[in-house]
Protein backbone atom coordinates (compact mmCIF):
# COMPACT_ATOMS: atom_id res chain seq x y z
CA UNK A 1 0.00 0.00 0.00
CA UNK A 2 2.81 2.41 0.77
CA UNK A 3 4.45 1.45 -2.49
CA UNK A 4 1.48 2.86 -4.38
CA UNK A 5 1.66 6.12 -2.45
CA UNK A 6 5.38 6.53 -3.09
CA UNK A 7 5.08 5.56 -6.73
CA UNK A 8 2.24 7.93 -7.54
CA UNK A 9 3.64 10.64 -5.31
CA UNK A 10 7.05 10.50 -6.96
CA UNK A 11 5.53 10.58 -10.45
CA UNK A 12 3.32 13.51 -9.45
CA UNK A 13 6.22 15.54 -8.08
CA UNK A 14 8.50 14.82 -11.03
CA UNK A 15 5.79 15.70 -13.52
CA UNK A 16 4.93 18.88 -11.61
CA UNK A 17 8.58 19.91 -11.75
CA UNK A 18 8.41 19.17 -15.45
CA UNK A 19 5.53 21.62 -15.80
CA UNK A 20 7.51 24.53 -14.48
CA UNK A 21 10.92 23.67 -15.87
CA UNK A 22 10.13 22.95 -19.53
CA UNK A 23 10.54 25.60 -22.18
CA UNK A 24 8.10 24.21 -24.70
CA UNK A 25 4.51 24.62 -23.46
CA UNK A 26 3.42 21.34 -25.02
CA UNK A 27 5.83 19.49 -22.77
CA UNK A 28 4.48 21.42 -19.79
CA UNK A 29 0.99 20.36 -20.77
CA UNK A 30 2.06 16.72 -20.99
CA UNK A 31 3.70 17.06 -17.59
CA UNK A 32 0.46 18.40 -16.17
CA UNK A 33 -1.52 15.53 -17.70
CA UNK A 34 0.82 13.03 -16.06
CA UNK A 35 0.44 14.87 -12.74
CA UNK A 36 -3.33 14.70 -13.02
CA UNK A 37 -3.28 11.00 -13.76
CA UNK A 38 -0.98 10.23 -10.83
CA UNK A 39 -3.19 12.32 -8.60
CA UNK A 40 -6.08 10.18 -9.76
CA UNK A 41 -4.05 7.18 -8.65
CA UNK A 42 -3.57 8.80 -5.26
CA UNK A 43 -7.29 9.41 -5.02
CA UNK A 44 -7.78 5.70 -5.59
CA UNK A 45 -5.52 4.90 -2.65
CA UNK A 46 -7.74 7.20 -0.59
CA UNK A 47 -10.94 5.27 -1.44
CA UNK A 48 -12.25 8.04 -3.69
CA UNK A 49 -13.03 6.02 -6.79
CA UNK A 50 -15.64 8.35 -8.21
CA UNK A 51 -13.43 11.39 -7.79
CA UNK A 52 -10.53 9.55 -9.42
CA UNK A 53 -12.62 8.67 -12.46
CA UNK A 54 -14.04 12.19 -12.64
CA UNK A 55 -10.52 13.62 -12.37
CA UNK A 56 -9.46 11.73 -15.46
CA UNK A 57 -12.63 12.35 -17.42
CA UNK A 58 -12.97 16.06 -16.61
CA UNK A 59 -9.51 17.33 -15.78
CA UNK A 60 -7.16 15.18 -17.80
CA UNK A 61 -9.64 14.41 -20.55
CA UNK A 62 -11.40 17.71 -21.15
CA UNK A 63 -9.70 20.68 -19.49
CA UNK A 64 -6.24 19.64 -20.58
CA UNK A 65 -7.50 18.94 -24.10
CA UNK A 66 -8.66 22.56 -24.08
CA UNK A 67 -5.19 23.67 -23.03
CA UNK A 68 -3.51 21.57 -25.68
CA UNK A 69 -5.87 22.88 -28.37
CA UNK A 70 -5.10 26.46 -27.37
CA UNK A 71 -1.36 25.84 -27.47
CA UNK A 72 -1.64 24.27 -30.89
CA UNK A 73 -3.98 26.86 -32.33
CA UNK A 74 -1.84 29.74 -31.16
CA UNK A 75 1.18 27.86 -32.48
CA UNK A 76 3.21 28.56 -29.40
CA UNK A 77 6.85 27.73 -29.64
CA UNK A 78 9.33 27.93 -26.85
CA UNK A 79 10.40 31.54 -27.09
CA UNK A 80 13.05 33.26 -25.11
CA UNK A 81 11.68 36.56 -23.94
CA UNK A 82 13.49 39.56 -25.29
CA UNK A 83 12.87 41.57 -22.20
CA UNK A 84 13.15 39.44 -19.11
CA UNK A 85 12.64 42.06 -16.49
CA UNK A 86 12.21 39.77 -13.56
CA UNK A 87 15.10 37.38 -13.84
CA UNK A 88 16.01 37.90 -10.20
CA UNK A 89 12.79 36.13 -9.22
CA UNK A 90 14.19 32.89 -10.55
CA UNK A 91 17.16 33.13 -8.24
CA UNK A 92 14.85 33.92 -5.34
CA UNK A 93 12.36 31.16 -6.03
CA UNK A 94 14.62 28.17 -5.51
CA UNK A 95 15.87 29.04 -2.01
CA UNK A 96 12.33 29.90 -0.90
CA UNK A 97 11.11 26.61 -2.32
CA UNK A 98 13.74 24.73 -0.36
CA UNK A 99 12.80 26.68 2.75
CA UNK A 100 9.19 25.64 2.36
CA UNK A 101 10.23 22.03 1.87
CA UNK A 102 12.18 22.24 5.10
CA UNK A 103 9.11 23.56 6.88
CA UNK A 104 6.96 20.77 5.48
CA UNK A 105 9.50 18.23 6.66
CA UNK A 106 9.51 19.75 10.12
CA UNK A 107 5.72 19.65 10.31
CA UNK A 108 5.60 16.05 9.18
CA UNK A 109 8.20 14.98 11.71
CA UNK A 110 6.68 16.64 14.74
CA UNK A 111 3.02 16.00 14.07
CA UNK A 112 3.42 12.41 12.93
CA UNK A 113 1.75 10.75 15.89
CA UNK A 114 -0.08 7.41 15.64
CA UNK A 115 -3.51 8.88 16.47
CA UNK A 116 -3.43 10.86 13.22
CA UNK A 117 -3.09 7.86 10.97
CA UNK A 118 -5.68 7.05 8.37
CA UNK A 119 -7.84 4.10 9.43
CA UNK A 120 -7.03 0.91 7.57
CA UNK A 121 -9.19 0.18 4.55
CA UNK A 122 -11.98 -2.13 5.44
CA UNK A 123 -11.54 -1.71 9.17
CA UNK A 124 -14.38 0.78 9.55
CA UNK A 125 -17.56 -0.22 7.66
CA UNK A 126 -18.46 3.33 6.55
CA UNK A 127 -15.20 3.48 4.58
CA UNK A 128 -16.49 0.90 2.12
CA UNK A 129 -19.28 3.12 0.96
CA UNK A 130 -17.17 6.24 1.22
CA UNK A 131 -16.09 6.81 -2.34
CA UNK A 132 -19.10 5.53 -4.19
CA UNK A 133 -21.31 7.55 -6.47
CA UNK A 134 -24.24 6.88 -4.18
CA UNK A 135 -22.76 8.54 -1.12
CA UNK A 136 -21.67 11.63 -3.01
CA UNK A 137 -24.95 11.82 -4.88
CA UNK A 138 -26.96 11.50 -1.73
CA UNK A 139 -25.06 14.37 -0.11
CA UNK A 140 -25.19 16.52 -3.20
CA UNK A 141 -28.88 16.29 -3.86
CA UNK A 142 -30.05 16.70 -0.29
CA UNK A 143 -27.85 18.86 1.93
CA UNK A 144 -25.79 20.55 -0.77
CA UNK A 145 -28.36 21.19 -3.45
CA UNK A 146 -27.68 24.93 -3.56
CA UNK A 147 -23.97 24.63 -4.46
CA UNK A 148 -24.92 22.16 -7.17
CA UNK A 149 -27.40 24.54 -8.76
CA UNK A 150 -24.99 27.45 -8.34
CA UNK A 151 -22.33 25.42 -10.14
CA UNK A 152 -24.64 24.87 -13.09
CA UNK A 153 -25.29 28.61 -13.32
CA UNK A 154 -21.55 29.20 -13.09
CA UNK A 155 -20.89 26.84 -15.98
CA UNK A 156 -23.54 28.59 -18.04
CA UNK A 157 -21.85 31.92 -17.38
CA UNK A 158 -18.51 30.41 -18.33
CA UNK A 159 -19.91 29.15 -21.64
CA UNK A 160 -21.36 32.53 -22.54
CA UNK A 161 -18.25 34.36 -21.39
CA UNK A 162 -15.85 32.13 -23.27
CA UNK A 163 -17.84 32.39 -26.48
CA UNK A 164 -18.03 36.15 -26.19
CA UNK A 165 -14.36 36.63 -25.40
CA UNK A 166 -13.00 34.40 -28.12
CA UNK A 167 -15.19 35.72 -30.90
CA UNK A 168 -13.44 37.17 -33.90
CA UNK A 169 -14.89 40.68 -33.89
CA UNK A 170 -12.29 42.41 -35.97
CA UNK A 171 -12.11 39.89 -38.77
CA UNK A 172 -15.86 40.05 -39.38
CA UNK A 173 -15.78 43.84 -39.64
CA UNK A 174 -12.71 43.72 -41.85
CA UNK A 175 -14.47 41.28 -44.15
CA UNK A 176 -17.45 43.58 -44.36
CA UNK A 177 -15.14 46.41 -45.26
CA UNK A 178 -13.48 44.41 -47.99
CA UNK A 179 -16.66 43.01 -49.56
CA UNK A 180 -17.74 46.14 -51.46
CA UNK A 181 -14.38 46.46 -53.25
CA UNK A 182 -14.26 42.77 -54.16
CA UNK A 183 -17.70 42.58 -55.78
CA UNK A 184 -18.55 46.01 -57.09
CA UNK A 185 -21.26 44.81 -59.45
CA UNK A 186 -23.37 43.31 -56.74
CA UNK A 187 -23.22 45.74 -53.89
CA UNK A 188 -23.11 49.49 -53.88
CA UNK A 189 -20.24 51.18 -52.16
CA UNK A 190 -22.68 52.65 -49.72
CA UNK A 191 -22.54 49.40 -47.76
CA UNK A 192 -19.47 50.15 -45.75
CA UNK A 193 -18.34 49.77 -42.21
CA UNK A 194 -21.14 52.02 -41.16
CA UNK A 195 -22.66 49.41 -38.91
Amino acid sequence: MEILFFLFGAIAVVAALNVILQRNPIYSAIGLIVTLCSLAGLFLTLSAQFIAAIQIIVYAGAIMVLFVFTIMLLNVRSEESKVDRQKFLRWLAVPLFLALLGEVYYVVRTVNNPPLQIPATGAAPPAEILGTVESIGREMFTSYLLPFEATSVLILMAIVGAMLLARREKEVDAAKRQAPTAEPEEETVAIGPGH
Binding site: A53, I57, A60, G61, A62, V65, F69, M72, L73, V133
Partner: protein, 341 residues
Protein backbone atom coordinates in the same frame (compact mmCIF):
# COMPACT_ATOMS: atom_id res chain seq x y z
CA UNK B 1 -8.67 -6.06 1.14
CA UNK B 2 -6.24 -8.94 1.19
CA UNK B 3 -4.29 -9.40 -2.00
CA UNK B 4 -2.94 -12.92 -1.96
CA UNK B 5 -1.02 -14.91 -4.50
CA UNK B 6 -4.02 -16.92 -5.67
CA UNK B 7 -5.97 -13.80 -6.52
CA UNK B 8 -3.03 -12.32 -8.42
CA UNK B 9 -2.38 -15.50 -10.40
CA UNK B 10 -6.02 -15.87 -11.33
CA UNK B 11 -6.18 -12.26 -12.45
CA UNK B 12 -2.98 -12.64 -14.46
CA UNK B 13 -4.20 -15.74 -16.25
CA UNK B 14 -7.48 -14.06 -17.07
CA UNK B 15 -5.72 -10.99 -18.39
CA UNK B 16 -3.49 -13.06 -20.64
CA UNK B 17 -6.43 -15.02 -22.01
CA UNK B 18 -8.61 -11.95 -22.56
CA UNK B 19 -5.79 -10.03 -24.20
CA UNK B 20 -5.02 -12.77 -26.66
CA UNK B 21 -8.63 -13.54 -27.46
CA UNK B 22 -9.46 -9.90 -28.11
CA UNK B 23 -6.30 -9.38 -30.17
CA UNK B 24 -7.21 -12.30 -32.41
CA UNK B 25 -10.76 -11.03 -32.72
CA UNK B 26 -9.44 -7.61 -33.73
CA UNK B 27 -7.11 -9.07 -36.33
CA UNK B 28 -9.93 -11.03 -37.87
CA UNK B 29 -12.24 -8.02 -37.71
CA UNK B 30 -9.87 -6.26 -40.08
CA UNK B 31 -10.11 -9.19 -42.45
CA UNK B 32 -13.87 -9.41 -42.00
CA UNK B 33 -14.18 -5.74 -42.83
CA UNK B 34 -12.36 -6.15 -46.10
CA UNK B 35 -14.36 -9.24 -47.06
CA UNK B 36 -17.74 -7.83 -46.07
CA UNK B 37 -17.04 -4.51 -47.77
CA UNK B 38 -16.05 -6.47 -50.84
CA UNK B 39 -19.19 -8.58 -50.88
CA UNK B 40 -21.39 -5.53 -50.46
CA UNK B 41 -19.51 -3.83 -53.28
CA UNK B 42 -20.00 -6.90 -55.47
CA UNK B 43 -16.41 -8.07 -55.62
CA UNK B 44 -14.23 -10.56 -53.76
CA UNK B 45 -12.03 -9.50 -50.92
CA UNK B 46 -8.66 -10.95 -50.03
CA UNK B 47 -9.05 -14.70 -50.44
CA UNK B 48 -5.61 -15.83 -51.57
CA UNK B 49 -3.77 -16.28 -48.33
CA UNK B 50 -5.07 -19.50 -46.82
CA UNK B 51 -8.56 -20.81 -47.48
CA UNK B 52 -11.02 -17.93 -47.70
CA UNK B 53 -8.17 -15.59 -46.85
CA UNK B 54 -8.12 -16.66 -43.23
CA UNK B 55 -4.37 -16.27 -42.90
CA UNK B 56 -4.51 -12.71 -44.20
CA UNK B 57 -4.04 -11.09 -40.76
CA UNK B 58 -0.74 -12.88 -40.36
CA UNK B 59 0.37 -11.69 -43.76
CA UNK B 60 -0.56 -8.15 -42.77
CA UNK B 61 1.32 -8.50 -39.52
CA UNK B 62 4.42 -9.68 -41.32
CA UNK B 63 4.14 -6.77 -43.70
CA UNK B 64 3.88 -4.27 -40.90
CA UNK B 65 6.84 -5.69 -39.05
CA UNK B 66 9.05 -5.92 -42.11
CA UNK B 67 8.37 -2.42 -43.40
CA UNK B 68 11.01 0.22 -42.99
CA UNK B 69 10.41 2.28 -39.88
CA UNK B 70 10.68 5.84 -41.06
CA UNK B 71 10.94 8.84 -38.82
CA UNK B 72 10.61 11.96 -40.95
CA UNK B 73 13.21 14.61 -40.38
CA UNK B 74 11.08 17.52 -39.32
CA UNK B 75 8.95 15.81 -36.73
CA UNK B 76 9.12 16.30 -33.02
CA UNK B 77 10.68 12.91 -32.26
CA UNK B 78 9.62 12.59 -28.68
CA UNK B 79 5.94 13.30 -29.33
CA UNK B 80 5.99 11.42 -32.63
CA UNK B 81 7.00 8.23 -30.87
CA UNK B 82 4.73 8.84 -27.88
CA UNK B 83 1.49 9.34 -29.80
CA UNK B 84 0.81 5.74 -30.94
CA UNK B 85 1.55 4.48 -27.43
CA UNK B 86 -0.88 6.97 -25.91
CA UNK B 87 -3.53 5.86 -28.38
CA UNK B 88 -3.00 2.14 -27.99
CA UNK B 89 -2.55 1.66 -24.24
CA UNK B 90 -5.92 3.06 -23.06
CA UNK B 91 -7.67 1.24 -25.90
CA UNK B 92 -6.39 -2.07 -24.56
CA UNK B 93 -6.59 -1.24 -20.87
CA UNK B 94 -10.37 -1.14 -21.08
CA UNK B 95 -10.57 -4.87 -21.63
CA UNK B 96 -10.37 -5.71 -17.97
CA UNK B 97 -13.93 -4.63 -17.27
CA UNK B 98 -15.67 -6.43 -20.13
CA UNK B 99 -18.28 -8.84 -18.71
CA UNK B 100 -17.91 -11.75 -21.07
CA UNK B 101 -20.22 -14.15 -19.37
CA UNK B 102 -21.80 -15.28 -16.14
CA UNK B 103 -20.17 -17.39 -13.49
CA UNK B 104 -19.38 -20.78 -14.95
CA UNK B 105 -18.08 -23.97 -13.54
CA UNK B 106 -14.71 -25.06 -14.90
CA UNK B 107 -13.97 -28.66 -13.82
CA UNK B 108 -10.60 -28.12 -12.15
CA UNK B 109 -10.84 -24.52 -10.95
CA UNK B 110 -14.34 -24.36 -9.52
CA UNK B 111 -16.59 -21.35 -10.01
CA UNK B 112 -14.99 -18.82 -12.32
CA UNK B 113 -16.37 -15.42 -13.23
CA UNK B 114 -16.00 -14.71 -16.90
CA UNK B 115 -14.67 -11.20 -16.45
CA UNK B 116 -11.25 -10.08 -15.32
CA UNK B 117 -12.42 -7.71 -12.65
CA UNK B 118 -15.46 -5.94 -11.47
CA UNK B 119 -15.14 -2.25 -10.65
CA UNK B 120 -18.01 -0.47 -9.02
CA UNK B 121 -17.32 2.46 -11.33
CA UNK B 122 -16.79 0.23 -14.36
CA UNK B 123 -18.56 2.46 -16.86
CA UNK B 124 -16.72 5.59 -15.70
CA UNK B 125 -13.46 3.68 -16.08
CA UNK B 126 -14.32 3.00 -19.71
CA UNK B 127 -15.17 6.65 -20.35
CA UNK B 128 -12.02 7.84 -18.60
CA UNK B 129 -9.82 5.70 -20.82
CA UNK B 130 -11.70 6.78 -23.94
CA UNK B 131 -11.07 10.42 -23.00
CA UNK B 132 -7.37 9.69 -22.66
CA UNK B 133 -7.32 8.22 -26.15
CA UNK B 134 -7.96 11.69 -27.60
CA UNK B 135 -4.41 12.72 -26.70
CA UNK B 136 -2.81 10.22 -29.02
CA UNK B 137 -4.58 11.80 -31.98
CA UNK B 138 -3.86 15.37 -30.95
CA UNK B 139 -0.19 14.65 -30.29
CA UNK B 140 0.14 12.71 -33.55
CA UNK B 141 -1.26 15.63 -35.48
CA UNK B 142 1.01 18.14 -33.76
CA UNK B 143 4.18 16.09 -33.79
CA UNK B 144 4.04 15.34 -37.48
CA UNK B 145 4.72 18.98 -38.24
CA UNK B 146 2.68 19.04 -41.43
CA UNK B 147 -0.47 20.94 -42.36
CA UNK B 148 -2.59 17.91 -43.14
CA UNK B 149 -1.72 16.11 -39.99
CA UNK B 150 -2.31 19.09 -37.75
CA UNK B 151 -5.67 19.90 -39.28
CA UNK B 152 -6.71 16.28 -39.24
CA UNK B 153 -5.61 15.85 -35.64
CA UNK B 154 -7.38 18.96 -34.42
CA UNK B 155 -10.58 18.18 -36.28
CA UNK B 156 -10.59 14.59 -35.18
CA UNK B 157 -10.05 15.38 -31.52
CA UNK B 158 -12.57 18.23 -31.54
CA UNK B 159 -15.09 15.79 -32.97
CA UNK B 160 -14.25 13.17 -30.35
CA UNK B 161 -14.54 15.61 -27.49
CA UNK B 162 -17.88 16.94 -28.74
CA UNK B 163 -19.43 13.53 -29.13
CA UNK B 164 -18.12 12.34 -25.78
CA UNK B 165 -20.75 14.55 -24.19
CA UNK B 166 -23.74 12.94 -25.84
CA UNK B 167 -22.08 9.54 -25.35
CA UNK B 168 -21.85 9.99 -21.60
CA UNK B 169 -25.33 11.45 -21.34
CA UNK B 170 -26.98 8.75 -23.40
CA UNK B 171 -25.93 5.98 -21.05
CA UNK B 172 -27.36 7.68 -17.98
CA UNK B 173 -30.83 6.31 -18.69
CA UNK B 174 -29.57 2.72 -18.60
CA UNK B 175 -27.47 3.46 -15.52
CA UNK B 176 -30.44 4.98 -13.72
CA UNK B 177 -32.48 1.92 -14.46
CA UNK B 178 -29.88 -0.49 -13.15
CA UNK B 179 -28.92 1.66 -10.21
CA UNK B 180 -25.22 1.04 -10.63
CA UNK B 181 -22.22 1.90 -12.77
CA UNK B 182 -20.88 -1.63 -12.45
CA UNK B 183 -21.07 -3.35 -15.82
CA UNK B 184 -21.76 -6.75 -14.29
CA UNK B 185 -24.58 -5.27 -12.25
CA UNK B 186 -26.08 -3.61 -15.32
CA UNK B 187 -26.05 -6.94 -17.15
CA UNK B 188 -27.67 -8.71 -14.22
CA UNK B 189 -30.39 -6.10 -14.19
CA UNK B 190 -31.43 -7.14 -17.68
CA UNK B 191 -32.03 -10.77 -16.91
CA UNK B 192 -35.79 -10.56 -16.46
CA UNK B 193 -38.47 -11.77 -18.90
CA UNK B 194 -36.73 -15.10 -19.64
CA UNK B 195 -33.45 -13.41 -20.50
CA UNK B 196 -34.96 -10.90 -22.89
CA UNK B 197 -35.52 -8.03 -20.48
CA UNK B 198 -32.99 -5.89 -22.24
CA UNK B 199 -32.74 -2.16 -21.78
CA UNK B 200 -33.32 -1.72 -25.48
CA UNK B 201 -36.92 -2.84 -25.10
CA UNK B 202 -37.43 -1.64 -21.57
CA UNK B 203 -37.60 2.06 -22.13
CA UNK B 204 -34.25 2.90 -23.68
CA UNK B 205 -34.69 2.94 -27.47
CA UNK B 206 -33.80 6.64 -27.69
CA UNK B 207 -30.78 6.12 -25.49
CA UNK B 208 -29.65 3.27 -27.68
CA UNK B 209 -29.96 5.31 -30.87
CA UNK B 210 -28.11 8.29 -29.38
CA UNK B 211 -25.42 6.02 -27.95
CA UNK B 212 -24.86 4.27 -31.26
CA UNK B 213 -24.55 7.49 -33.23
CA UNK B 214 -22.27 9.12 -30.66
CA UNK B 215 -20.13 6.02 -30.47
CA UNK B 216 -19.65 5.85 -34.22
CA UNK B 217 -18.58 9.50 -34.15
CA UNK B 218 -16.34 8.83 -31.18
CA UNK B 219 -14.44 6.09 -32.96
CA UNK B 220 -13.98 8.19 -36.11
CA UNK B 221 -15.79 5.80 -38.40
CA UNK B 222 -18.04 6.41 -41.38
CA UNK B 223 -20.19 8.49 -41.63
CA UNK B 224 -18.10 10.58 -39.23
CA UNK B 225 -14.63 9.88 -40.50
CA UNK B 226 -13.87 13.10 -42.33
CA UNK B 227 -10.68 13.76 -40.37
CA UNK B 228 -9.05 10.60 -41.57
CA UNK B 229 -10.69 9.90 -44.90
CA UNK B 230 -8.26 9.25 -47.71
CA UNK B 231 -9.98 11.54 -50.13
CA UNK B 232 -10.05 14.51 -47.81
CA UNK B 233 -6.93 15.19 -45.84
CA UNK B 234 -4.54 12.63 -47.27
CA UNK B 235 -4.82 10.50 -44.20
CA UNK B 236 -5.41 12.99 -41.46
CA UNK B 237 -3.37 12.69 -38.32
CA UNK B 238 -1.62 9.48 -39.29
CA UNK B 239 -0.29 10.74 -42.62
CA UNK B 240 3.31 10.67 -41.54
CA UNK B 241 3.19 7.32 -39.85
CA UNK B 242 4.31 4.07 -41.41
CA UNK B 243 4.83 0.43 -40.53
CA UNK B 244 4.41 -0.57 -36.92
CA UNK B 245 3.35 2.85 -35.64
CA UNK B 246 0.58 3.00 -38.19
CA UNK B 247 -0.39 -0.51 -37.21
CA UNK B 248 -0.73 0.70 -33.64
CA UNK B 249 -3.13 3.46 -34.67
CA UNK B 250 -5.04 1.02 -36.81
CA UNK B 251 -5.27 -1.51 -34.01
CA UNK B 252 -6.33 1.15 -31.54
CA UNK B 253 -9.15 2.21 -33.83
CA UNK B 254 -10.46 -1.32 -34.04
CA UNK B 255 -10.00 -1.83 -30.32
CA UNK B 256 -12.12 1.28 -29.75
CA UNK B 257 -14.76 -0.15 -32.08
CA UNK B 258 -14.72 -3.34 -30.07
CA UNK B 259 -15.03 -1.44 -26.79
CA UNK B 260 -17.98 0.53 -28.09
CA UNK B 261 -19.69 -2.64 -29.28
CA UNK B 262 -19.15 -4.32 -25.93
CA UNK B 263 -20.55 -1.37 -24.02
CA UNK B 264 -23.52 -1.22 -26.38
CA UNK B 265 -24.34 -4.87 -25.78
CA UNK B 266 -23.80 -4.59 -22.04
CA UNK B 267 -25.89 -1.47 -21.60
CA UNK B 268 -28.65 -1.97 -24.12
CA UNK B 269 -28.69 -5.50 -25.44
CA UNK B 270 -28.39 -7.39 -22.19
CA UNK B 271 -24.75 -8.51 -22.27
CA UNK B 272 -24.71 -12.24 -21.78
CA UNK B 273 -28.48 -12.51 -21.21
CA UNK B 274 -30.69 -14.54 -23.46
CA UNK B 275 -32.97 -17.56 -23.31
CA UNK B 276 -31.73 -20.49 -21.19
CA UNK B 277 -28.68 -18.81 -19.75
CA UNK B 278 -29.40 -19.85 -16.15
CA UNK B 279 -29.46 -23.50 -17.09
CA UNK B 280 -26.43 -23.39 -19.35
CA UNK B 281 -24.03 -20.60 -18.35
CA UNK B 282 -21.63 -21.14 -21.25
CA UNK B 283 -24.46 -20.04 -23.54
CA UNK B 284 -24.02 -16.58 -22.09
CA UNK B 285 -20.58 -16.38 -23.66
CA UNK B 286 -22.06 -17.33 -27.04
CA UNK B 287 -24.81 -14.71 -26.76
CA UNK B 288 -22.28 -12.04 -25.75
CA UNK B 289 -20.04 -12.64 -28.71
CA UNK B 290 -22.98 -12.92 -31.07
CA UNK B 291 -24.20 -9.50 -30.03
CA UNK B 292 -20.74 -7.92 -30.18
CA UNK B 293 -20.16 -9.36 -33.65
CA UNK B 294 -23.51 -8.00 -34.72
CA UNK B 295 -22.35 -4.51 -33.76
CA UNK B 296 -19.03 -4.94 -35.55
CA UNK B 297 -20.93 -6.06 -38.62
CA UNK B 298 -23.14 -3.00 -38.27
CA UNK B 299 -20.05 -0.79 -38.30
CA UNK B 300 -18.80 -2.43 -41.47
CA UNK B 301 -22.21 -2.28 -43.08
CA UNK B 302 -22.45 1.45 -42.37
CA UNK B 303 -19.03 1.99 -43.86
CA UNK B 304 -20.09 0.33 -47.08
CA UNK B 305 -23.35 2.18 -47.33
CA UNK B 306 -23.23 5.74 -46.09
CA UNK B 307 -21.47 8.85 -47.42
CA UNK B 308 -19.63 10.96 -44.95
CA UNK B 309 -20.66 14.13 -43.20
CA UNK B 310 -18.97 17.42 -43.83
CA UNK B 311 -17.21 18.72 -40.78
CA UNK B 312 -19.56 21.56 -39.95
CA UNK B 313 -22.59 19.34 -40.50
CA UNK B 314 -21.00 16.87 -38.12
CA UNK B 315 -20.39 19.41 -35.36
CA UNK B 316 -23.82 20.96 -35.80
CA UNK B 317 -25.43 17.58 -35.51
CA UNK B 318 -23.49 16.67 -32.39
CA UNK B 319 -24.09 19.86 -30.49
CA UNK B 320 -27.46 21.03 -31.69
CA UNK B 321 -29.31 17.77 -32.11
CA UNK B 322 -27.73 14.85 -30.30
CA UNK B 323 -26.96 16.64 -27.06
CA UNK B 324 -30.54 17.90 -26.51
CA UNK B 325 -31.93 14.50 -27.45
CA UNK B 326 -29.64 12.82 -24.94
CA UNK B 327 -30.78 15.24 -22.25
CA UNK B 328 -34.38 14.59 -23.22
CA UNK B 329 -33.71 10.88 -22.88
CA UNK B 330 -32.52 11.41 -19.31
CA UNK B 331 -35.70 13.29 -18.46
CA UNK B 332 -37.91 10.65 -20.04
CA UNK B 333 -36.07 7.80 -18.35
CA UNK B 334 -36.30 9.49 -14.99
CA UNK B 335 -40.01 10.11 -15.49
CA UNK B 336 -40.63 6.50 -16.47
CA UNK B 337 -38.54 5.32 -13.53
CA UNK B 338 -40.58 7.38 -11.10
CA UNK B 339 -43.91 6.39 -12.63
CA UNK B 340 -43.23 2.69 -12.65
CA UNK B 341 -41.74 2.57 -9.18
Amino acid sequence: MSVDAGFLIEALIKIIIVFHVVLIILAYTVLAERRVLAVIQNRLGPNRVGTFGLLQPFADLLKFIMKEDLIPMAVNKYLYLLAPIVTLVPAFMVMIVYPFGPTVRIPYFGQVDLYVTRLNIGLLFVFALTSLGVYGIVLAGWASNSKYSLLGGLRSSAQMVSYELSLSLSVIGAVMQSGSLDLVEIVKNQSGAWGMGWHLFWFQPIGFAVYLISAIAETNRVPFDLPEAETELVAGFHTEYSAMKFAMFFLAEYANMFTVSVIATVLFLGGWNGPFVEQLPWLGLVYFFAKVFFFLFLYIWLRATLPRFRYDQLMNFGWKFLLPVALLNIVISAAIGVLTF
